[in-house]
């Protein structure tokens, strides 16, 4: 890998990590969900600083080219993240439904109480 490419990779992952930390600082990203992103950003940074590490992992696993290993794990990771987001969305949808139903029932109860009050 050329020194220029390497430098770009280091800067790129450092920026990613900074963006993630800033999002958490501004509370745009909950710590709970930020953790996995911080680990990812850190891993990117580590791999771009110590390219040797990536080369060793990929040859250990038998990838013919190191970048294939990177793509493979990258895509695998993204799949897992998206799956996680689907799970979170489903849970939110369920909670949202329950919440809305409670509001609907409360509204009806308030209406009934108001009508009762007016009749007295």
């Amino acid at each position: 890998m050329s020194i220029r490419l390497n430098l770009a990779a280091v800067i790129g992952s450092a920026v990613l990590l900074l963006i993630i930390l800033e999002l958490v600082r501004r509370k745009y990203l909950r710590e709970r969900y930020a953790l996995i992103w911080i680990v990812t950003g850190g891993l990117f940074l580590l791999l771009s600083i110590r390219v040797q590490l990536l080369l060793r992992i990929s040859s250990f696993l038998g990838f013919s080219v190191a970048s294939n290993a990177l793509f493979f794990f990258g895509i695998l990771f993204l799949l897992l993240i998206v799956l996680g987001v689907s799970v979170i969305t489903s849970r939110l949808a369920e909670k949202n439904k329950t919440l809305t139903q409670e509001v609907v029932l409360l509204k009806k109860r308030i209406e009934d109480l108001e009508n009762y009050g007016r009749q007295r």
């Binding site: 439904k97 609907v104 509204k107 009806k108």
Partner: protein
């Protein structure tokens, strides 16, 4: 016995009045609740004019959530029986007394009005018949019971059903799944013959693609659900 008729309604301004009138005629002692599922037409106004109970979803949440809202209301207001009558006018109100009778005499916990139990002359398309056959088979596989019209929304449930369905009711295409969860909980169900009219107005919520989705979704949901423990 306190009885509540729940009418789930999404844009049913053309037919709602007729449905309410039908219930008042054939089941005069039942209360009527319209759950307006975010209609954009005059459904809510009509319901209020008719002086029935009205619950309003702030946005469209689907038939499952709509019925569940109704069940929650029924449970918390102390009703013993809840009946679902669709707002499109296809359910025949003349069958209401026979729909609740098995509940009143303790013969069943859930009663389904079936189009296919007698030859009521319901004209159905071939794809729909096949679809329903498939669900009949599915219900038989998972419960060992024969139900001729498992997708029928014309139903009545007692207290046990109310408790179960207020807790958990599938958000979309709930009819078939609800039968299976009811059976797993040990609820007894029973069909009575009824006739259904074609839609009085509006349009069916089920097209070809959604029919396919219906079958796949329900099958998946039931299959995976059968690995869940019974709470």
């Amino acid at each position: 016995m306190k009885i509540l008729t729940i009418i789930p309604a999404f844009n049913e301004e053309e037919t709602l009045r007729g449905v309410i009138l039908g219930i008042r005629t054939f089941l005069a002692h039942a209360d009527i609740l319209v759950v307006n599922d975010g209609s954009t037409d005059k459904t809510a106004n009509i319901a209020r004019e008719e002086g029935v109970f009205v619950l309003e979803h702030p946005y469209n949440m689907g038939i499952g959530a709509t019925m569940q809202t109704g069940f929650l209301y029924a449970l918390r207001s102390g009703y013993d029986i809840a009946i679902q009558v669709d707002g499109d006018g296809q359910h025949n109100p003349e069958s209401l007394p026979s729909l609740i009778k098995p509940l009143l005499i303790g013969q069943a916990d859930l009663v389904i009005g079936s189009r296919y139990l007698s030859d009521g002359g319901f004209k159905s398309t071939l794809p729909r018949k096949l679809g329903i056959k498939f669900f009949t088979w599915l219900v038989w596989i998972f419960t060992g019971k024969r139900v001729t019209d498992p997708t029928s929304g014309f139903r009545a449930i007692g207290r046990k059903g109310l408790e179960l369905f207020s807790e958990e009711y599938p958000p979309d295409y709930p009819e078939v799944e609800a039968l299976i969860s009811a059976s797993r909980k040990g609820l007894l169900f029973l069909e009575i013959p009824t006739t259904m009219r074609g839609r009085q107005g509006g349009s069916s919520s089920i097209g070809i693609l959604s029919a396919l989705y219906y079958m796949v979704k329900v099958t998946l949901s039931i299959s995976i659900g059968s690995f869940r423990g019974i709470k």
